[in-house]
Amino acid sequence: MDALNTLIASTGIVHFTVGQVVMMLVGFLLLYLAIARGFEPLLLLPIGFGAILTNIPLAGMGEPGGLLYMIYEVGIGTGIFPLLIFMGVGAMTDFSALIANPRMLLLGAAAQFGIFATLFGAIALNWVPGLSFTLKEASAIAIIGGADGPTAIFLASKLAPDLLGAIAVAAYSYMALVPIIQPPIMKALTSKAEREIQMSQLRSVGKREKVLFPLMLVLLTILLLPTAAPLIGMFCLGNLMREAGVVERLSKTAQNELINIVTIFLGLAVGSRLSADKFLTTQTLGILVLGAIAFAIGTATGVLMAKLMSKLSKQPINPLIGAAGVSAVPMAARVVNKVGLQANPHNFLLMHAMGPNVAGVIGSAVAAGILLALVG
């Protein structure tokens, strides 16, 4: 009967801790959000599943020797996975709208105020008893305001690996919540007249401009901000493969099979950081609150910047497109389009919002580089 005892001792039931049960519920919640609600399912489904697997008692899948542990160490500990995702995103991104109207980059810049204000806020939270963030942790949390998953994971893996799970979950959750978070802020900061502004059609963009854009961006990064070079470099490599026209098979693979494989593994690895001891802390609560604030501030400063540009510019600019500056591609641009249509049924802002939207990706990668340079 020894064997029977061994078997019973090896069932999960008798070993569950409360924390593991709670984290497993968190995992199932993420699966629910991903599948039933369509919240960023490509990431939240594997993250949720990874959270479940890593909290199984005795299985040790998130501990040394376990599958999830190995995936984490190889892919996120080294920074490789977020960089490959960024390469794939670069290969998927069409910069035409931004090249046609480069000033949209300023909206992407303004929206990063969400990041830096949140960094300040996180440090201020140290006054709250029980909460304590170092400058590195605060920076890693603040990057949630960049509304860019791979950038957040890359920075968190460098500055605050222990918070990575909560930060990634917050980032992707809020990116999925953009349609709920942004519209009230957008409407509060703009008048109906402003929201009705129609913008003039974008000029067409030539192939050469598209090829030179990633090269120029990487060059500027090299000169001014080498700490952002891995992120922006891989992003530009992907975009160059897309636009060069001579390596289509590499570009296709980067934006399909390769990014899909990495996404599955990245999700599982992030999920493996959702263990009870790392996630069930007061810090996580702080992260969730700060993340939402960061999103809101970024949206607001984006819209305010667009209002300013609208006043100064000869060309008509609809201030709504400033909200797309947080990135969250392409969700934020779609939200802009929707809110624009509510004000004026003939006002299609989608293409105009794509410019600030992709500018937001660059902006948050730049912000990540600055944080790495100053805090890392």
Partner: protein, 80 residues
């Protein structure tokens, strides 16, 4: 202690935002220059290329298009 950190993070906020704007403003500048230069030296090509891109972007693979035209052509031959 916290106030030291707060001061530091306020500085970070200032320098960070200035840097982000500087970086992206320089990018705006570079892009504007690039576009002007390119359009001065090859104004025609732009239109050509973009129309080519349009054709590709309807999402049909050349094989499918070829197959369909062949099928329709063959059908037309057999039934006229």
């Amino acid at each position: 202690m916290v106030s030291d950190l707060l001061l530091e993070s306020a500085t970070l906020m200032l320098i960070g935002m200035v840097s982000v704007f500087t970086f992206l403003l320089l990018l705006v500048l570079l892009m504007t220059i690039m576009s002007r230069v390119l359009r001065r030296y090859s104004p025609v090509k732009v239109a050509e290329k973009s129309s080519k891109t349009d054709t590709v972007s309807n999402g049909l693979s050349p094989a499918v298009v070829a197959a369909i035209s062949a099928a329709v052509h063959q059908y037309r031959q057999q039934h006229k």
